[in-house]
């Protein structure tokens, strides 16, 4: 998010989902697309059937990797290095797009200096990607007519997450693979409304529509609209708020529809914070692990019980529609929030329907300004959509970047925060399964899904398992400096040796008891979920 915003002026997916079908090359990294975004994977399969080259760079042989033309397994956390390596080759070979660089970007000279050092030999040493393969990837990506980059949490959940994203942006700008249909840099949003919640300023430094809380002009606009003084200070992120509880600075917390007890890194730490906080309100549809800690639990409604809008990963506004009434005495979430606002004595929550809420937010959010419920009944609109005549924007940065010129950032490779050592000799990465969603609160009550998988496992390379003396299906103890869980072994020849994978959906063996919460990307404040050091111990040899 922060990385793309710095490079292009907007952190969103640059192109729309159907465009993937017409790409000539799709470079996928850090996205287990068939699991986490199956219907985007479907488009990518169509592209392949039409002749596109699919390149996957991922430490695991994911389903998409198995279907790809090229799959290489990089060392965990070595992304900046291989991206710089690609750019090094592209520049050496003259496959870059000089006129695009001249006309549309700035900062190229600094970038050039840094990538000069990333020779294929050096890159192979850091990343484990053979230099011949790197060259092949560079050639396909740079020389294809329309190349698109797809990434997900495997890129962002690192201490260098922002650097990784900026590097991908560098690569796209270097080759002019952006600002046209079926090109671009495309972060896939994991949850249904990540894009919308960010658009709606569920972030500490912006008002809706990415307007800075520190800008006097913007603040005055919102003070006028909302009828009162607003704070000029940037607020705290999720992880910082958890820390602030520990420090005694944060006393009250309202959690809407999230389960940080499972989803946040270092769950032990989160649990302590939620135990310690003075007043905790949780609004949810289940009594989640987090809700159990609350002082007040407000029963909300599922997507079937309310109206509203989601903004899809490609900035597409879509309605959800009420099919049934909320269960029991539960209420629609928008209504609960209006009631809370009113109970606090505010006059700004007198809405009769989500449509009225939308009208207010669209009024204040320039990128949503031209959108209303009536339009999205009939049209597919991707923001920015600035007025009623604006058809919206399936792809961004057509004639110029949102920030004016695209900004190259020269970035050096930095290793992950926690590297394997004698005590914790393996590396752990985490992710999703196709059969479950996030912390499992919704999917683990769904019989069709639990039938497929209902317990955690650790994917190990057969050779690693052999040296540990453990067999398929056997239960092992997995520990990091932060905690320990027991899971059964699943032998997986497709994973990189020395690397293990645990899906994070399972509360009884929560992968995030192990992950490294303390290691944050300095800008995006995203924890390094995708790399930490672990040790794996044989238990009594029992089958799980």
């Amino acid at each position: 998010m922060a990385g793309l915003a710095a490079a292009f002026g907007s952190g969103a997916m640059t192109n729309s989902v159907p465009e993937f079908e017409d790409a000539d090359c799709i470079l996928i990294t850090g996205s287990n697309t068939t699991s986490s975004h199956p219907l985007i994977a479907s488009r990518i399969m169509t592209a392949k059937a039409k002749g596109a080259k699919i390149i996957v760079i991922d430490p695991r042989r994911t389903h998409m990797a198995a279907l790809a033309d090229i799959h290489v397994k990089q060392n965990l956390g070595s992304d900046v290095a291989w991206i710089n390596g690609l750019m090094h080759i592209i520049l050496k070979e003259g496959w870059h797009n000089q006129s695009f660089i001249d006309e549309r970007t700035e900062g190229f000279e600094e970038l050039k200096k840094v990538i000069e050092n990333y020779t294929p030999e050096k890159v192979e040493e850091i990343t484990g990607i053979p230099k011949e393969t790197l060259r092949e990837i560079a050639e396909i990506y740079a020389k294809s007519e329309k190349s698109s980059i797809v990434y997900c949490m495997g890129i962002t959940q690192h201490i260098t997450g922002t650097d990784n994203v900026k590097s991908l942006a560098n690569l796209a700008m270097l080759t002019g693979q952006i600002g046209r249909p079926s090109t671009g840099v495309n972060p896939l949003r994991g949850q249904n409304n990540v894009q919308g919640s960010t658009d709606m300023a569920a972030i500490p430094n912006k008002y809706p529509g990415y307007q800075d809380v520190t800008s006097d002009e913007v603040r005055e606009k919102f003070e006028k609209a909302w009828g009162g003084p607003l704070s000029p200070n940037v607020g705290l992120t999720v992880v910082e708020m958890i820390n602030a509880i520990e420090e005694g600075k944060l006393k009250g917390l309202y959690i809407l529809g999230e389960n940080p007890m499972i989803s946040d890194p270092d769950s032990t730490h989160v649990e302590k914070a939620l135990d310690d906080i003075e007043f905790l309100v949780v609004q949810d549809i289940f009594l989640t692990e987090t809700a159990r800690k609350a002082d007040v639990v407000l029963p909300g409604s599922s997507f079937a019980e309310k109206d509203g809008t989601y903004t899809g990963t490609d900035r597409r506004l879509q309605k959800i529609r009420k099919a049934i009434e909320p269960l029991g005495d539960a209420k629609e979430d928008w209504e609960i929030l209006c009631l809370v606002g009113k109970a606090m004595g505010s006059k700004g929550f007198d809405f009769a329907s989500p449509s009225e809420v939308f009208d207010e937010l669209a009024e204040l959010t320039p990128i949503y300004h031209g959108i209303d419920y009536d339009r999205i009944e009939h049209e597919i609109i991707h923001w920015p959509c600035r007025d009623k005549d604006d058809p919206g924007s399936p792809y961004l940065h057509k004639d110029g970047f949102a920030r004016g010129k695209g900004l190259f950032t020269a970035i050096e490779y930095k290793p992950p925060a926690e590297l394997p050592d004698d005590e914790y000799p393996h590396q752990l990465t985490t992710g999703r399964l196709p059969f479950h969603y996030h912390t499992g609160t919704m999917t683990r009550v769904s019989p069709s899904l639990t039938h497929e998988v209902n317990e955690a496992f650790i994917e190990l390379h057969p050779e690693d398992a052999k040296s540990l003396g453990v067999r398929n299906g056997e239960k092992v103890r997995v520990s990091s400096r932060r905690g320990s869980i027991e899971v059964k072994v699943m032998l997986t020849p497709g994973i990189k040796k020395g690397v293990a994978f645990i899906p994070f959906h399972f509360v009884e063996a929560a992968a995030n008891r192990l992950t490294n919460a303390a290691a944050l990307d300095p800008i995006a404040k995203i924890p390094e979920y995708k790399v930490c050091a672990i040790k794996i111990e044989k238990l009594d040899g029992r089958e799980a």
Partner: protein
């Protein structure tokens, strides 16, 4: 005898597939892919096909709960809302607006996210607003 289908958006990831919820006599009994949706064009993944299954799952919350000692006990809406408002305003009074914060939700709608951040920014007076999407 009442059967209808309700066009809506799948709640399981950011792709935003179009689904039809099948409602028979007021009960959601199934999910169908929307055939003419521009994104999924009549196809779904296993989660999408079963998007209705969690709706009536055991453990759905149906009443507000307030902590009394170690236990969460059922309460009326009025009681719960007044208590939430009172405690937040007390804490704001005692420790300042930045002693409060919220985690909004990437699983909730735009409208809900807008309303929650508006409560914290406009009523409480803090920018301690974030969501778990980076996670």
């Amino acid at each position: 005898m009442e059967y209808q289908t309700v066009r809506t958006t799948c709640t399981y990831c950011g792709t935003g597939c179009g689904v039809l919820l099948e409602v028979l006599d007021g009960e959601v009994i199934g999910t169908l892919p929307q055939k003419d949706h521009p994104i999924n064009e009549g196809k779904l993944c296993i989660k999408g096909w079963n998007a209705h299954e969690f709706i009536y799952a055991d453990g759905r919350l149906t009443k507000p709960l307030i902590r009394k000692g170690d236990k969460l006990e059922e309460a009326s809406w009025d009681e719960a809302l007044q208590y939430v408002a009172k405690r937040f305003l007390e804490l704001k009074e005692k420790y300042g607006p930045d002693s409060l914060g919220c985690f909004s939700s990437a699983k909730c709608t735009n409208e809900e996210n807008y309303l929650l951040q508006k409560i914290f920014r406009a009523v409480i007076g803090t920018n301690n607003v974030d969501h778990c999407a980076r996670l």
